[in-house]
Symmetry: C2
Subunit: 155 residues, 2 copies
């Protein structure tokens, strides 16, 4: 009983290592596509999904990083004129990020590129398993997030 659980602990850890390794392609720090990084593309994508405008604090929640990190991640996109900062009408402390016309173009171009990669992924998974895979990966993500939320005195 104890032995079986031990083995499964190892299996879960191997999954985590495997995921980190295979997802590293996306988190590669060098320029990813159209002169932006993968995380920067994610930002454009979140804003695109929010009808072209999103508050910094919403964005920081979506990204799951510190507020300071969100400021730094958005800065190159503002500099490249893919996003613009807009004062919030509701709270004068707050800033909203708005997609520019240029930002839409870059978002679309990178998404077109991304789709080719995703289609390859999809084709690697048999049709019959696909829904199970999607459902199970979501379940795994939620279990990871569950654990991240708990108080810990270590790790």
């Amino acid at each position: 009983m104890e032995e079986g659980y031990h083995q499964e602990d190892r299996t879960v850890f191997d999954l985590i290592k495997g995921l980190i390794k295979s997802l590293r392609l996306f988190q590669n720090e060098s320029v990813f596509c159209e002169n932006i990084t993968f995380v920067q593309f994610c930002i454009l994508d979140y804003i695109s999904s929010a009808e072209g405008q999103l508050g910094m604090s919403s964005l920081h929640s979506l990204l799951g990083v510190e507020k300071s990190t969100t400021t730094r991640l958005a800065a190159p996109l503002i500099k490249q004129n893919l996003l613009m900062r807009v004062a919030s009408s509701k709270d004068s402390r707050a800033v909203e990020l708005k997609m520019t016309r240029e930002g839409e173009k870059v978002h679309n171009a990178v998404w077109a590129c991304m789709k080719r990669f995703i289609e390859d992924c999809r084709q690697s998974i048999p049709d019959t398993d696909r829904k199970d895979v999607i459902s199970s990966v979501n379940m795994f993500i939620h279990s990871l997030e569950n654990c991240c939320r708990r108080d810990r005195n270590c790790c």
Copy 2:
């Protein structure tokens, strides 16, 4: 048909974003546990699994990073006397990393800590779904790796 595929592209991309977000806890750059980072722990773990000794080029394959990165990642572990460099008997260019007694202690301590986290993860997933989840996440990892291997002129 086209519409359905489009929607599924989005779903896969959302999975990738979700995974990157939830795995970020591990890749947090601050010290993770026992004065080492998560990736450094992975290195100790790979070496532990290889009976305490592993070549640099094997390690760089397992990690999925550039050789230069492997050198940098191992350096703090050598400095902290958790690993030691050993010349290869087969190829005088090659270096092998050997676990020290201290390294074993740290590896065991961090693994004990890691197990608590993994047990939480495991408990979040219903018993009935667990094997499916493990199998499906593995399938997803393999499909990502499949795509990473293909030649690309972009991304």
